[in-house]
Structure formats: structure tokens, C-alpha cells
């Protein structure tokens, strides 16, 4: 399984970025090993459709779960049709959120 947390920084101890489409980084984590990859979000400055582009990036990466602050309507529509679980309305560091997710405390 792959979890993506939108992040303000490159490290797993960074605070979650509450924006989805225009977050600074995507951190993609394997919850079993806690190995992670951080990807700078190149749609930060997109004129429009940032959420769509971010969704495309994560789908191409094979992400199963997204943890973020909030997701706009266009992105939510396509993520739902792609069977990706979207968890919103949470906060904390990337690491804390993944730990909580593993304990079944999120969504």
C-alpha cells in the first residue's frame, strides 16, 4: 500500500500542508516499512486545474490513500472514480498522521 500525505517540507517530520492541489511536497510512504519518497509539487503555480494535475501525479505513482487538509471538487470527483481513499480535515506532521492511520484512527 502507498499513502500520500501533502507536506510543507521534504522530511517525514514536516507539518502536513492543508492544501491539496497547491501543497509544497507530496510525501509517499509505505506504511509497513515507513520508507518514503518526497516529490516537489510542480502544480504549485498552475494557472488552473492544480488539483487535477496533482491527482494525476499521485495516480501515476500508484497511491492508494491521500491524507490532506481539503480537496477541491474537480480533484475529488476524479479521485473518487479512481478508487483512491481521501482523508481530509486532519492536521499534524506527516509521520504522526501515518502512525494514526495505521492505528485506524483516521477516517
Amino acid at each position: 500500500m502507498k499513502i500520500c500525505v501533502t507536506s510543507t517540507g521534504q522530511s517525514i517530520d514536516s507539518a502536513m500542508d492543508p492544501r491539496f492541489g497547491r501543497c509544497a511536497y507530496f510525501i509517499i510512504i509505505d506504511p509497513d516499512s515507513m520508507d518514503f519518497e518526497s516529490i516537489p509539487n510542480d502544480s504549485v503555480n498552475a494557472g488552473g486545474g492544480a488539483g487535477v494535475k496533482s491527482s494525476q501525479t499521485l495516480i501515476d505513482k500508484g497511491v492508494d490513500v491521500i491524507i490532506t487538509g481539503d480537496v477541491g471538487p474537480n480533484a475529488l470527483r476524479i479521485l473518487n472514480t479512481s478508487n483512491i481513499k481521501v482523508i481530509v480535515g486532519v492536521n499534524g506532521t506527516v509521520k504522526e498522521l501515518v502512525e494514526k492511520f495505521k492505528k485506524g484512527l483516521l477516517g
Binding site: 488552473g48 486545474g49 495516480i59 474537480n74 472514480t81 479512481s82
Partner: protein, 278 residues
């Protein structure tokens, strides 16, 4: 003659200025290009005699031919195409109708269909011909509707264009090809900050312009210092006056009840005319 009214900052009084100017001069066509919230009609209360639906071409996918290769989505500069694991989706409200996806599709799986993107309204009020556009709720691309409003321009009239705020594509589309642009601002730090952006846009587009300061006796003097330094003319100052505000709150353009202002707008119009002819 085409005069556009722009501002940078929103809420400075573009529509107030445009409608009062329209009511002060003869032979006017007012084009409200602020298609995300056209509101000059609230002041001019035109009788609407015609409406037209506007359509743009957007792609549609023939799923039996599409192999989900994603080339169309990669090509799309506006992120209007999305490729899930199973299928390719179009988000028509983000599409700019360039037709590029159809060209790059190796399978011929994309055809174009009509999508309603807005409405054009035609009206008359006090001898002023008014045309305004309204972007469809949920659509993100205002420029198409602005372009359509402007294509209905009557160049034999004194054309006044009420532009949207900001300095992005819909503003560029609105002020494009105007003979002169009036920048309405207010003497506040926000007013000045956004005015500078609007000025750099107009300079780039080589459109002559002047500044109107609304609510002129609030805030500070920095707008005046800046305009003096840059050699920019301040064409008119409208004070922060109770009577003007009260009339505004009732949707009444103040020239209708304050005759001295009608003269000021006429004078300003003549000044602009002289500047253009120079």
C-alpha cells in the same frame, strides 16, 4: 473611440465610474466584460431585449477507441484532461478550446462537442446600448465570454468597456485594442500595489492610460507621489462623500442627481479624446 475601465484592485469603483461616464456622454455602447460578476446593469437597469447562449468546443472521448495512453492529458496546458487507471476524463469547465488534444490523439478517439459557457445579454437604458456577458456557473475560463462580448462592439459609438479586476487573461482580453484605459484606484496600500501591476500590464500592451482616484480623501498620499514620479496623469478624484455612497447603495449613478458631476465626466471625456488624438 474605445475606452476601457480597469483597476488592478477589485472594488475600487470601476463600474461606478463606467456607468457614470456612460450617462454623461452621447452615443454610448457599454460592454460589461466583468463576466464573472457583471453588475453595471444594477446601476443602468436596462431593458433586456435579447439574450444569446454561448458555446465553446470541448473534447469528448470515444471510449471504444481510447487506449488510455495519456498523450492528450500531457499535452493539455490547462489540466482539463485526466487519465485514471481505467479511463480518460474531460473536465470541460477547465478547457480553453484549443483543440490540441484532438490533434495529438494517436487513436482518433477525441471528437469535439458543444459546451455552454455563458450567456450574452443585450439591453438599452437612457439611450445607452448595453451588452454584457455572464460566465456559466462552474466554468473557470472567462476570456472566451469576454471575447464574445467584445466581438459585438459597435465602433461607430463611444465604446466604454467595464473590465474585470486584476491583471490576468480576462483583463488583457477586455482592455486589448482600446484607445485609452482608465485605471480606477483608491488611495490605500492595496490600491497602489495593484495599480502598479495594472500599469505594467498596460505599458506592456502599449495602451495609453490615466488614473482616477476614488474615495480620494481616505488613506494616504502614496498614489499621488507614485503618479507624480512616473509622470502619470490623475484624471479625476471622486471624494468619499455620503451623498455619493447613499446613491450607490440604492443603485443610482450619482451623475443622475448631482449635475455638477455630469460636467466633470464630460470634461474628463474631452481630455481623454484630446490625449488619444495627440
Amino acid at each position: 473611440m474605445i475606452i476601457s475601465v480597469a483597476s488592478g484592485k477589485g472594488g475600487t469603483g470601476k463600474t461606478s465610474f463606467a456607468t457614470n461616464l456612460a450617462l454623461s456622454i452621447d452615443n454610448v455602447q457599454l460592454l460589461d466584460c466583468d463576466v464573472e460578476e457583471p453588475n453595471s446593469y444594477l446601476f443602468l437597469k436596462p431593458e433586456i431585449n435579447k439574450t444569446e447562449n454561448l458555446f465553446i468546443l470541448v473534447p469528448s472521448i470515444n471510449e471504444s477507441l481510447c487506449d488510455n495512453c495519456g498523450k492528450c492529458a500531457k499535452f493539455c496546458e490547462f489540466n482539463a484532461i485526466f487519465v485514471s487507471r481505467e479511463k480518460t476524463f474531460i473536465l470541460p469547465e477547465l478547457c480553453h478550446s484549443c483543440g490540441g488534444c484532438k490533434i495529438v490523439c494517436p487513436k482518433g478517439a477525441i471528437k469535439e462537442e458543444l459546451h455552454k459557457t455563458g450567456t450574452i445579454y443585450y439591453g438599452n437604458s437612457n439611450g445607452i446600448e448595453i451588452i454584457y456577458g455572464e460566465l456559466e456557473v462552474g466554468d473557470a475560463v472567462a476570456s472566451n465570454v469576454v471575447r464574445e462580448v467584445k466581438s459585438r462592439m459597435n465602433k461607430n459609438k463611444n465604446v466604454i468597456i467595464d473590465s474585470p479586476p486584476g491583471a490576468s487573461c480576462p483583463v488583457i482580453e477586455s482592455v486589448k485594442n482600446s484607445d485609452f484605459s482608465v485605471l480606477v484606484t483608491e488611495p490605500t496600500p492595496f490600491g497602489l500595489h495593484d495599480l502598479k501591476i495594472a500599469i505594467s500590464l498596460l505599458r506592456e500592451m502599449k495602451i495609453p492610460f490615466g488614473v482616477v482616484v476614488n474615495r480620494a480623501d481616505i488613506g494616504d498620499r502614496k498614489i499621488y507621489d507614485y503618479c507624480k514620479k512616473e509622470g502619470i496623469d490623475i484624471l479625476l478624484e471622486i471624494p468619499f462623500e455620503r451623498k455619493i455612497a447613499e446613491l450607490y447603495s440604492k443603485g443610482i449613478p450619482f451623475v443622475l442627481e448631482m449635475a455638477e458631476w455630469k460636467e466633470k465626466f464630460q470634461k474628463l471625456f474631452n481630455t481623454i479624446k484630446e490625449k488619444i488624438q495627440k
